[in-house]
């Protein structure tokens, strides 16, 4: 009985398999490029070639962050709005990626269908959004990735500092500890690109320049303050002397700081991002430092990149590799905290 049903369904699946086999099947990007070039939507194609008038033509730009609700996304959006707000002809929409590859792909597809003129994307997963990025580019829509890029050639990446951040922090810790000491890492959710990059950078430098600094342990705080707090507590119970902590983002650094404070231990605590709350923590001496990125600037940069691409009509077609704009990695500690003025804080 059951088996019969199975076989039945099998047949169904097979039928589709056949369909797939007998040609005519195109992957997204193929289909998209076909649509963009030649049949039907010649106009968009030609526009894509010559670009639009950045001041007069109707322009639609969409921003799709990994997840809405955290300070980075907010700051980016703010930056973009503040720049694009000057263009009366530009409409700008923010979406929520819900930290889900599926959701981001869905929204990407929809923006493509609605002929957005440019998409700013923070890819939840580099590999997972490569396909829809290709599709967009193929359809003549420039994709500018913000912080987390897609694993394919696209119009531009405004890179957040992750690998560099890791390296910088390693340097600082190395110096301050005089090349000798014990470090723990509170890492991102397993599999998160940003976290991996920070880790890479950090570990490289330690390995090359400070071999005597020992990484005691590494546990995930899943980006969350409260979890980092828990993890830190466990580290403190397990290891008598910890000299420094690397957290893959500020939120976790804050959590770790609370834990350290509660156990009143003097430990260097480093985060990445530089959100205003973290800066307060540094000011109060709860955290040692962070690698500050001016997210509003970064957002603005993305927006500018978009307008440039739209104006020039450049898409991945015209590129062999993704052009990258790097944000300056500013290491912030108590000393240079003042350099980050109010209007730079987010």
């Amino acid at each position: 009985m059951k088996k019969k049903m199975m076989s039945l369904l099998m047949v169904g699946a097979m039928a589709v398999g056949m369909l797939a086999g007998c040609g005519g099947v195109k992957t997204d990007s193929e289909a998209a490029s076909e649509a963009a070039g030649g049949n039907g939507k010649a106009d968009t194609a030609t526009e894509a070639a010559t670009g639009k008038n950045a001041y007069s033509d109707e322009i639609k730009i969409g921003f799709l962050p990994n997840v809405i609700g955290d300070s980075c996304a907010a700051a980016w959006a703010e930056g973009m709005e503040s720049y694009l707000g000057n263009f009366s002809n530009v409409t700008f929409n923010v979406f929520d990626g819900k930290a889900s590859v599926d959701t981001e792909n869905t929204i990407m597809e929809q923006m493509i269908n609605e002929n957005y003129d440019a998409i700013i994307l923070q890819a939840t997963d580099a590999a997972g959004l490569a396909a829809s990025t290709d599709k967009a580019e193929a359809a003549g829509i420039p994709v500018i990735t913000c912080n987390l890029d897609a694993d394919t050639v696209h119009t531009g990446l405004v890179a957040g500092v992750d690998t560099e951040a890791g390296q910088q922090i390693a340097e600082r810790i190395g110096e301050s500890l005089g090349g000798k000491g014990k470090v723990v890492i509170i890492s991102a959710t397993p599999g998160a690109t940003k976290g991996e990059n920070i880790d890479k950078g950090f570990k490289e430098v330690l390995k090359e320049k400070y071999p005597d600094i020992e990484i005691l342990d590494e546990q995930s705080g899943e980006w969350l303050t409260e979890n980092a707090n828990t993890v830190m507590n466990d580290f403190l119970t397990k290891y008598q002397d910890i000299d420094a902590v690397l957290c893959h983002n500020d939120a976790m650094a804050e959590g770790a700081a609370e834990a350290a404070k509660a156990a009143n231990k003097e430990i260097q605590i480093w985060g990445v991002d530089g959100e205003s709350k973290m800066l307060d923590y540094i000011e109060q001496g709860l955290c040692t430092g962070t690698v500050y990125t001016d997210c509003q600037k970064q957002g603005a940069a993305c927006a500018q990149f978009c307008m440039y691409a739209i104006g020039s009509g450049i898409t991945a077609k015209n590129l062999s590799a993704t052009p990258v704009v790097k944000m300056a990695p500013i290491v912030v500690t108590k000393e240079n905290l003042s350099e980050i003025t109010e209007d730079m804080r987010w």
Binding site: I68, A74, G191, D217, T225, E226, T230, L236, A251, E258
Partner: protein, 338 residues
């Protein structure tokens, strides 16, 4: 009455104690002088305190054979409300008081809505609370405008989640207090008695003059309240409000309850059991970190233990009261009876 059953009562179902004991023994052996220390126990309790607080209220719908999956969302919204209020009203203690009360009220209101919908339309609670998640998280987003709202002061607020009393984090105290309260409500009040009774046989209760609907509605209110409280504690702990806070906590709570031996068919389960459940999960995660298992394998171990607990429970229940084939969750609607 001899004392034995009472001890059992306090510890929850015996087989659960053995699991916990075994796990703790193993960890003590693996990490001598590290695991079994006051400090570590404290940090375990701290790590479960937030959803521990939730459990204290969410157990009520569970005992009724219902469920509340919106607790995470409610926590986020309540936290958001409290923090935004405090921020907007100049970080005064007064603002804290109002904000906290407001947050709790918000939670209670959501619970009320659930209760009413469940009783009026006999909708599976599972579904309705699932659907309202969207709405409540939406509210949280509205409140926080999708940004992180830091709230470092005043001390009174920071104390809720960060403070210490007699060297013990205050959030643990709150959890304990809530646990005691709901233990008292469940064990010592008429309402508690009614909850168990209605969960066991609603019709019999109706015919015995129990206001079943009221009991149900109040239970969801309780769930909403504790969810809100835990949300506020979380916000204070993290010194911030954030729209996506407490995501997936409904899952933690459910785990705690299931591991803690709540039957999900209603009528069976105890707050002690639930707290033990939460504690067990806490112990395991803590142990895994102490032993230094890589984060990405934690899930496997945890789930094995959870499965063990669930299986044991199912087995015990089966032996005790014969087959319980029907789905626990969705009370069959009245069929036009022949």
């Amino acid at each position: 009455m001899d004392k034995k059953p009472d001890i059992r009562k306090i510890l929850g179902k015996s087989q659960r104690i053995w699991i916990l004991a075994a796990v703790m023994l193993v960890l003590t052996l693996l990490q001598p002088g590290v695991f079994l220390t006051g400090a570590n126990m404290k940090s375990i309790l701290l790590s479960i305190s937030v959803y521990g607080i939730m459990v204290c209220g969410t157990i009520f719908p569970i005992l009724l054979g219902g469920i509340d999956l919106s607790v995470g969302a409610v926590a986020a919204a309540a936290g958001a409300f409290t923090v935004t209020w405090i921020v907007d009203h100049g970080f005064t203690d007064g603002a804290v008081a109002v904000g906290v009360l407001g947050g709790l009220f918000l939670g209670a209101a959501v619970g009320m809505v659930h209760g009413v919908i469940v009783t009026q339309f006999s909708v599976p609670p599972f579904l309705i609370t699932l659907a309202t998640q969207n709405i409540v998280y939406g509210v949280a987003q509205l409140l926080t405008e999708n940004n992180v709202i830091a709230c470092m002061e005043p001390a009174s607020f920071a104390f809720l989640g960060g403070g210490r009393l007699l060297g013990v984090p205050f959030s643990i105290w709150i959890m304990m207090i809530m646990a005691v309260i709901s233990y008292i409500i469940l064990g010592k009040t008429v309402f508690g008695r009614n909850v168990y009774a209605v969960g066991g046989n609603a019709e019999a209760c109706r015919l015995s003059g129990v206001r079943s609907r009221l009991v149900i509605i109040m239970s969801y209110v309780a769930s909403g309240l504790t969810a809100a409280l835990s949300g506020i504690v979380l916000a204070s702990m993290n010194r911030q409000a954030i729209a996506k806070a407490a995501q997936g906590y409904d899952n933690y709570v459910l785990t705690a309850l299931v591991v803690g031996g709540a039957s999900l068919m209603g009528g069976e389960g105890s707050i002690q059991g639930a707290i033990w459940g939460a504690f067990l999960v806490g112990v395991i995660s803590n142990g895994l970190r102490l032993v230094g298992v890589a984060s990405d394998y934690h899930g496997v171990v945890k789930c094995v233990v959870i499965l063990a607990a669930v299986a044991l429970d199912a087995h015990v229940r089966y032996k005790k009261s014969g087959l319980q084939k029907t789905s626990p969750f969705f009370k069959k609607k009245e069929k036009a009876k022949a």
